[in-house]
Symmetry: C2
Subunit: 324 residues, 2 copies
């Protein structure tokens, strides 16, 4: 390999994803490691340093590695190089860029993880040739990035676009942000599993009990989706309710932002037909007539590589921001 | 008067407001007429034509009137000069600009009414020197305009920014847009009056019954506020509940848009202390830590003249848009 590369790294609360990304946005040697966030920022920084060394050695010449695009789950400032607030990592004011630059000598660019995934899809995925889009990643939590008129919405604080923390059910289930009834507390994998567990505990009959052999810690959205595919009523109801919440939340976003595309990614979108079938038409049924016209709802093209590719793209693609 | 003027006109579902606006944004001869929308688009266009003649005659020379800035309650396209959808006027595809230009010979610029109020405040009101703001007008309905990084958010359809049609109470009260539990269906004057009437009908004791002499059609937010000021429990509860909804809705907007200012206008903001006291601190308590930092919640400076001034400003102020 004598081409130039950027190392894209996407740090999540559970996993760290990484790949060498060429200047056409193609990932190579993609891998997924455990984050082990409980071991603190120092441990994660060491892990990132080791990753950089590992990828340098993959290359014919170390100089072919031109920089590190680093996506973090929190509020980051690329100018200061600081992650001010990363609740899911329990980070506060971590000087990421300086630390990594000192240790590796490579230029670092920071970006919020949801915005990285959004940029990945915008430049190389389902959002190519689209000027106004929202990228929503539904996993353990909900990440969201907004492209408005070909610019990334970051706001004056650099962290705008928290669609997961839009309340749609007043006095709904508790959310990690402190409020109740946020989209994240209703539609994330965590929320779906929690709601299902509550129903099972309340004695609702379901195939799921057998599928997980009574071990509640084995319950996942995949299993719920599998049960729904087997016509299990509880599972179907849970996913149907989740879909209604998702339609409500996405319709709110359509009425506010008027996107041409909503790109859905994350594990939950594999929860099958009950959740995703007719999603676009149901949003269009309830959104404002003049705002729903251009809308398409599409799945992520880059899947779990979107963040890595988007973070790397900061080095070879230009994006203007709104705010920041 | 030998200065040059723009005639600003702000057409609402109930009233038409108009004033001559000089190039420093100062309104003169402000007046409020009835819209009489039930008489159809032709009647309103005739009224607008008469208004233009009236204001021309106010001026020393007719040439001092340089153009008409027209705010309409709906989706407008200034390039085609058409109001595609004005639900509150029951307008559909009305060719406003061509009609008025033919009759008066003056150049016309069209804008959505909420965006006009937003521009008014941004250029000459509470939003001066602020690059990121949301302007919310709470009256019969809810209007909202967004300035992001000194640009007006209009979206690819030209009508983005419908904060009033964000659902915050799943399965809440019916909204005129077809959904349930929209901010407008909870916090607008119409919604407040409706909720109060329901409580009175259900037999809740209140001073209000006496204040309106049993005539429910006399019930207004002013009377509810007056009752609250007299420590009427029902009125206080209604306004307290309204405030909670407003905090929820505005916090959603802070988490999405990260504004530096939220400017509140419209009749409902005069409903007194119960509704507005500590609004900013309550939003800050529940919004995302990194997003609430720059926020100030302030009242409109231009009041019911914001739309007229904003519409006129299209002729002598430059604004870039996001989308459109």
């Amino acid at each position: 390999m004598s081409e130039k590369y950027i190392l894209g790294i996407d740090v999540g609360a559970t996993n760290i994803k990484a790949a060498l990304v060429d200047f056409q946005g193609r990932p190579k040697h993609f891998q997924i490691l455990l984050t082990e966030k409980e071991r603190g920022p120092g441990h994660i920084l060491k892990k990132l340093q080791e990753l950089i060394v590992f990828y340098k050695e993959k290359l014919e010449k170390a100089e072919l590695l031109q920089g590190i695009g680093l996506a973090l789950p929190g509020s980051v400032n690329d100018t200061t190089g600081i992650c001010a607030f990363g609740p899911n990592l329990r980070w506060k004011n971590v000087k990421v860029s300086q630390e990594l630059k000192n240790r590796t000598g490579l230029p670092i660019k920071l970006i919020n993880d949801a915005n990285a995934a959004c940029l990945g899809e915008y430049f190389f995925g389902s959002g190519r040739n689209c000027s106004n889009l929202i990228c929503i990643t539904i996993g353990t939590g909900i990440g969201s990035g907004f492209i408005l008129d070909n610019k990334l919405l970051i706001g004056p604080s650099g962290a705008a676009g928290e669609a997961g923390h839009m309340v749609i059910v007043e006095d709904g289930p508790q959310c990690s942000c402190g409020r109740r009834g946020c989209l994240e507390a209703l539609v994330s994998a965590t929320a779906i599993v929690k709601r299902t567990r509550e129903k099972i505990n309340a004695g609702h009959p379901t195939l799921i009990t057998e599928m997980i052999d009574g071990k509640h810690e084995l319950l996942t959205t995949e299993i719920i989706a599998e049960a729904a595919a087997k016509k299990d009523e509880l599972a179907i109801n849970i996913l149907q309710q989740t879909k209604e919440y998702l339609v409500t939340g996405l319709t709110n976003l359509v009425n506010l932002f008027n996107p041409e595309k909503i790109i859905l990614g994350g594990g939950v979108i594999h929860a099958g037909d009950v959740l995703l079938k007719n999603l676009e038409s149901e949003i269009k049924k309830s959104a404002f007539p003049t705002l729903r016209e251009p809308l398409e709802v599409v799945p992520s093209l880059l899947g779990n590589k979107a963040g890595v590719i988007g973070a790397a793209s900061l080095f070879f693609k230009k994006i203007k921001t709104i705010g920041g």
